[in-house]
Amino acid sequence: MDILRIATAGSVDDGKSTLIGRLLYETNSITKDKIEALESASKRKGLDFLDLSLLTDGLIAEREQGITIDVAHIYFSTPTRKYIIADTPGHVEYTRNMVTGASNAKVSLILVDARQGVVEQTARHLSIAALLRIPKVIVCVNKMDLVQYDKAKFEAIKDSLSSLVAQTTFEGQEISFLPISSLFGQNITQAADKMPWYQGNTLLGELEAFEFAESLAHAPARFPVQWVIRPKTEEYHDYRGYAGKISSGTFQVGDVIKALPTGQESTIASIEKFGEQLERAVAGDSIVITLTTDVDISRGNSLVLASDTQAPQLKDFTAHICWLDHQALSPGKTYLLQHGVNLTKAKISQITERLDVVAQTSSQDVDSLKLNEIGGIQLRTAQPIMADVYAENPSNGAFILIDEFSNSTVGVGFIK
């Protein structure tokens, strides 16, 4: 059974939480006691209808203000697959929570209010979806009920987005447009009787039909070592296993590998999972690898194929960055850089650009990046990192920056 991860996006009050509530409601994913709780909460708010946004807005502050502040993770399944939805906040102040929710998504649902059309958040979220290389974007034009389900309105929004989309999208990204009403359940799981002019998929239909190849199995083989297993029991006296999750590619018993950064070579003796012996393992598998010879390998090192002479070892590189902290990014400062499970110090030598998400232009003369801004940086690390260009191998191309003093995660970077 596969898992499809989705994240919502769009401006505040566009109806993201209501949409997710509706999706769950119509797929019978909400139990009776939860519906009853929704009914009484809606009544308490003085509403005469079921406020489905209350299903995901779980914090007291969110319910008081009627907005989403942090990501909620919601689950439902169909006979086809299991869905994990990240319902993210639309408010620009909480963009970092939006990025958190979107980082694992394969589909981004970007909502647009039919009355307002394209706004700044639409542009920002399209840019973020492109930066993260989310393979599918569904632009949901919501609240169609408030524009009398007017086809012309929908088409106009679609047209006005086309130039922006053309600028942000990348090869292989699928983009589709859907007119919906979350409040009245139009085009969510059932065809919209109010919009006979629309002949395409419903939202659920679109999700069910989406095929995403886990192409990472064909990417270069990368195995970051998380933990070295040394039982030191009689039975496993000399056992030394390298535990980790394959980030991309495939490993097989007998493969000649090298450990980076040292470059020492060895051969895979076994691939194990809880005592089970595997012939091969692919991206995403949490396994243990043993080698035929004793090599000095510790946490943070990576195994790659010995034949992979291109395996990069970066010390001085450029990256896109999305800044997530109230304290602005300033060049010259040292941060901790976490790439996968590997931690090293990094110095930002220069901010190379700042992106204007609306105009899709960038300015070069920049001396800081503030909360929620997207830009480019040049950085240097204390130890080399075994990272790929994000666009080519996303699972091995992103990193986070951590403030040494506050310990907060302050930025997320994508290697150029």
């Binding site: 059974m1 779980g58 942090d70 919601i74 006979p79 929570n97 990025v99 992103a398 995660t409």
Partner: protein, 306 residues
């Protein structure tokens, strides 16, 4: 739902979830000096123990199992706990809410809804301090409850164990930042993305042992607020609440005073799974502790509850 749609929904356990959880277990062992696995005896924490075993096999689980014993546990749970610790060779640490009460740090609730569920937090925080645990692994899932749906996998708590929902760290991709200041600690939720059904499907596929109270059995119960409550010496009964025998099982296992039973003939796991799928009530609907107010869970978490 009709029978056929229920069958359709059972599906299989998505194996990717296990890989992710094992990855999280290993991150905990690597990033922290003194982690612990909080073991409640319920199916979720039993699942955690299995994942920890898998993560470090053929090595032993590199952290202790910690049980905060309220004194109101089902005897079957305690028996199972001791068996599992032996079976896995893991170290078991038990601390008692009764001790916190005796020390005057916690006060027994009164009235017919009295339970020790809230008091647990006091004992938990003391235990964290006693052993200087910097990470505590728990079996909470995001699908359980709306405040839990907001939780990160690595959830940082301050000196007082408090959760600040408005200041959570961004958590990107699968990168987990476990860096903390002295006194802070992290609650870790490796099965955040599992649903109740995923847990049951996993237990089934892995042929795991679980406490007998999850299966149908005969028990003395009383009826209160439309639910069946297990009769025990800890339950404050009113005069008209007369125990009777019923065929029941438990869907979630907490204290005897705050977990309701459901009528059920399910003696095997397949039937349990079908029951869950056709149930009209959510898992937490059987937790009396959640019914105290709409925001009961968030408020308890702010206080350092799991």
């Amino acid at each position: 739902m009709t029978d056929s749609t229920i069958k359709d929904k059972i599906g299989q356990f998505p194996r990717k979830l296990e890989d992710e959880s094992i990855y999280i277990m290993r991150e905990v062992a690597a990033q922290f000096e003194r982690p612990a696995l909080l073991f409640s005896g319920g199916k979720d924490s039993i699942t955690l123990v299995r994942l920890a075993q898998k993560a470090f096999f053929p090595g032993k689980i590199p952290f202790p199992l910690v049980h905060i014993d309220t004194g109101h546990n089902f005897p079957e749970t305690i028996e199972f706990r001791d068996w599992l610790a032996k079976e896995t060779g893991a170290e078991l640490i038990v601390r008692y809410v009764q001790d916190s009460i005796n020390q005057g740090k916690a006060k027994e609730e009164t009235g017919k809804y009295a339970s020790r569920n809230v008091l647990q937090t006091v004992t938990l925080l003391d235990t964290i301090e006693e052993f200087k645990f910097d990470a505590c692994i728990g079996g909470a899932r995001r699908d359980e409850e709306k405040a839990r749906a907001k939780e990160r996998i690595f959830s940082v708590r301050d000196d007082f164990g408090q959760w600040d929902a408005k200041r959570q760290r961004p958590e990107l991709f699968d990168m987990l930042n476990g860096r903390i200041a002295v006194g802070e600690n992290v609650r870790v939720f490796p099965i955040s993305n599992w649903t109740e059904l995923d847990v049951w499907n996993y237990i089934k596929e892995e042929k795991m042992e679980i406490p007998s109270i999850y299966f149908s059995h005969q028990r003395q119960v009383i009826e209160r607020d439309g639910m069946l409550w297990a009769d025990s010496e800890y339950l404050n009964k009113e005069a008209d609440e007369i125990p009777f025998e019923a065929t029941v099982r438990f869907r979630t296992v907490g204290d005897m005073t705050c977990t309701a039973a459901v009528e059920s003939d399910a003696v095997e796991i397949d039937i349990i799974i079908e029951e869950i799928l056709s149930a009209e009530i959510s898992e937490r609907g059987a937790r009396i502790d959640d019914k105290r107010s709409e925001a009961a869970m968030e408020k308890r978490k702010q206080q350092g509850y799991f």
